[in-house]
């Protein structure tokens, strides 16, 4: 089993390397120079890798906590909270250029997304202290997502076409909108929170067996659940802030990881989710540029390509 998993990891790493090289050197117009490589390709590649890692880990944490393969950053309303705050910023204000300086104004969108995701996270965490049942917490998260969606819909309804277009484009997700500085900042923040996850492998392992088992193993269930939801929200929030909401990755990658590595060992699952998430987004980005005259939105690719593949795998392996 160990040897099989090692071989699987090697293959995934090879795919990862292929994805990185493709992202850096293939596609586009076929022309390459230093500027394109350093200012466009490298930031995009770093963003794809980090976004894939963070969303996958965020999804894995939530699926373990809620013991539900459909749990992900969207279902708790975290992404919806981020989208709502960005909608308020882009649509609700006269202009997005309210503050001086590039980092201030693009930061406004970034902080809005973070603030929105943290606000929803705060609410979920507050409720998690009072509500023991994960099912109820998940349902509340779904309702919060619905409320955020409805408010966002109202803003969109009254928005003028130009601002609405800006927001719609943001909500399609983007891996290429980051500069080198942005991508390094995303990488730093993302890696900090991913690293924090590794300190909670034992609680995650225990959570698989449920709350009672966890507590009987000496693990403070509520406290660890609190921290893990916080980590998951932070991972989702920072990625959404830099890239917009990217669909499907948080749900599908942990699922794919479990299908490939048929083990409940959470260290294996975290490592494989990190790699698979990066691979998925690297190849999705390549698929976005398959037509020379059009760049497709990354959300469309991650969902259209990924979802049927997961359905196929689920048919083949009925226990997930």
């Amino acid at each position: 089993m160990k040897n099989t998993n090692s071989i699987k990891f090697i293959f995934i790493i090879l795919f990862f390397i292929a994805g990185v090289l493709s992202s850096l050197f293939l596609g586009g117009t076929g022309e390459m120079n230093d500027y394109i490589f350093y200012a466009i390709r490298i930031p995009k590649t770093i963003t794809a890798i980090i976004a894939g890692c963070t969303l996958s880990v965020a999804g894995l944490i939530l699926q373990v906590i809620f013991r539900n393969p459909l749990a992900g950053p969207y279902v708790l309303g975290i992404s919806s909270g981020a989208s709502l705050m960005v909608a308020l910023t882009l649509i609700g204000t006269q202009s997005v250029f309210l503050m001086e300086g590039y980092y201030a104004s693009k930061s406004l969108v970034l902080f809005s997304a973070l603030a929105g995701s943290m606000a929803v996270t705060g609410l979920i965490l507050l409720l998690s202290k009072r509500i023991g049942s994960n099912v109820i917490l998940l349902l509340i998260g779904l309702m919060i997502a619905q409320i955020c969606g409805a408010l966002q819909g109202a803003l969109e309804y009254f928005a003028d076409p130009g601002k609405l277009k800006s927001f719609v484009m943001w909500s399609m997700g983007s891996l290429a909108g980051t500069t080198l500085h942005d991508s390094l900042l995303l990488a730093t923040l993302g890696l900090i929170f991913i690293a924090a996850t590794f300190f909670y492998i034992k609680p995650l392992q225990a959570f698989l067996a449920g709350q009672n088992y966890s507590e009987s193993s000496g693990i403070d269930y509520k406290k660890n659940r609190f921290v893990l939801i916080l980590i998951s929200s932070a991972l989702t929030g920072i990625t959404t802030a830099f890239c917009g909401p990217i669909a499907f990755v948080g749900i599908s990658v942990p699922l794919l990881s479990r299908l490939i590595f048929k083990t409940s060992d959470q260290l294996t699952q975290i490592l494989s989710s990190i790699l698979l998430g990066a691979v998925l987004l690297l190849f999705s980005d390549m698929a976005c540029h398959v037509f020379s005259q059009y760049t497709l939105p990354v959300n469309m690719i991650t969902t259209i390509i990924g979802a049927p593949f997961v359905i196929y795998l689920l048919f083949k392996n009925r226990q997930v």
């Binding site: 009254f158 003028d160 399609m172 983007s174 290429a176 909108g177 020379s292 005259q293 059009y294 760049t295």
Partner: protein, 372 residues
């Protein structure tokens, strides 16, 4: 020209008699999506379809002979005489109507937030104008209660309830001027609106002047030695929508003596490209036009710092069509420029070929250089 229409019913006459001596009106030179003809009894205005310009999508009969009792089906609209109460759901059409001297006939518009038109804004201050859609859909009840003789809207609008208005006896015109391929063709649509208000002479005069100015300006750039390259638009999210080679932008740049970088793309619609594709083709572009709502180089950098790596940015050759904007930030470029493409061309020639001195006073109508 249609010689007989089987979707018309008429009392006391044969349909064939109705169409006797129908002669074309308006001497259309560029516009292909409508026709006007008339005889002693009626005026017939035909709209030609979205997909096939030969397909008649609607016909409007303006009855001159009050004894005629006409009824129609299948997108045939009967109007008694000319229109005196007009709901205009496009600032472009409103501009054409006000230039025809029909401001007082406009009883409603869609949303004044988009308007720079001083006569309509003044009419609104007198509370003599109704707004029908502050959101994406028009207020159906308000529209019906207003009892306009006609509602003008445009073909891309999906939010106007076509059958509900026509069932209430209000004819609707879904104009397709945006499908015309040349700026002069779209400007010629002033004759279309003039047909509904009996102002054809005035429309002819306005259009002839526009055409004469446009041709004079275009001829001045025919012999230029150097055609500067032009990039347009900015990113929206990850994508950069650049108009195709058959778009108005491409035509204007060519007629202004420039070279539009995507003039070889055989479509009028936009291409959705990434920053890399744009950079490869346009990093050395001499001029950069039409940066949406941006008013300064600083704002551009705030949105995307990599704009600073384009040559046009470095040498400060950035021009946007936001010289005149209203309180809400909307410019008059489309509102007025569609009717006066000669003014757009004048601005562009002054930008791309200032040595030609097309305007003695260096008067700009729509464009301004971006501030730092």
């Amino acid at each position: 020209m249609i010689s007989c229409d089987q979707n018309i019913n008429v009392q006391d006459h044969t349909v064939k008699e109705l169409f006797t001596d129908l002669r074309p009106v308006g001497d259309l030179k560029f516009a292909k999506r409508f026709s006007i003809s008339e005889n002693a009894s009626l005026k017939m205005i035909c709209l030609f379809g979205n997909k096939d310009p030969k397909d008649t999508s609607a016909i409007y009969y303006l009855i001159k002979d009050s004894t005629l009792k006409l009824s129609g089906s299948n997108k045939r609209f009967i109007l008694n005489g000319k229109c005196d109460r007009i709901a205009s759901l496009s600032s472009v059409y409103s501009t054409m109507l006000t230039e025809l001297g029909e401001t007082e006939k406009i009883v409603a518009v869609e949303n004044l937030d988009y308007y720079n038109n001083p006569s309509l804004l003044e009419k609104n201050r007198r509370s003599a104008l109704v707004e029908l859609s502050k959101g994406p859909e028009i207020d159906l009840e308000k529209t019906i209660l207003l009892k306009p003789d006609i509602v003008f809207t445009f073909g891309m609008s999906g939010s106007v309830p076509d059958s509900k208005l026509t069932n209430a006896g209000i004819p609707m015109v879904i104009a397709v001027d945006h499908l015309e391929e040349h700026p002069l063709a779209r400007a010629e649509w002033i004759k279309f609106f003039a047909a509904f208000t009996d102002k054809m002479d005035r429309a002819d005069s306005i259009f002839n002047e526009t055409e004469k100015n446009y041709d004079k300006l275009r001829s001045m750039t025919k012999g230029v030695d150097f055609r500067p390259t032009v990039l347009t638009e900015i990113k929206t999210g990850e994508l950069w929508y650049v108009p195709g080679g058959k778009s108005f932008v491409s035509t204007f740049v060519k007629d202004a003596g420039g070279k539009y970088l995507w003039d070889d793309v055989q479509q009028s619609g936009s291409l959705a490209l990434g920053l890399e594709e744009i950079f490869v083709k346009a990093k050395e572009a001499d001029f950069w036009l039409n940066q949406a709502l941006v008013n300064s180089k600083k704002e551009m950098i705030e949105q995307e710092p990599r704009y600073a790596d384009f040559k046009a940015f470095k040498i400060g050759q950035l021009y946007n069509n936001t010289l005149h904007t209203n309180e809400k930030g909307y410019s008059n470029y489309w509102e007025t420029g569609i009717t006066h493409p000669d003014q757009i061309l004048s601005d562009l020639i002054q930008i791309l070929h200032p040595e030609l001195n097309v305007s003695e006073n260096k008067l700009f109508y729509f464009y301004q250089k971006l501030k730092d």
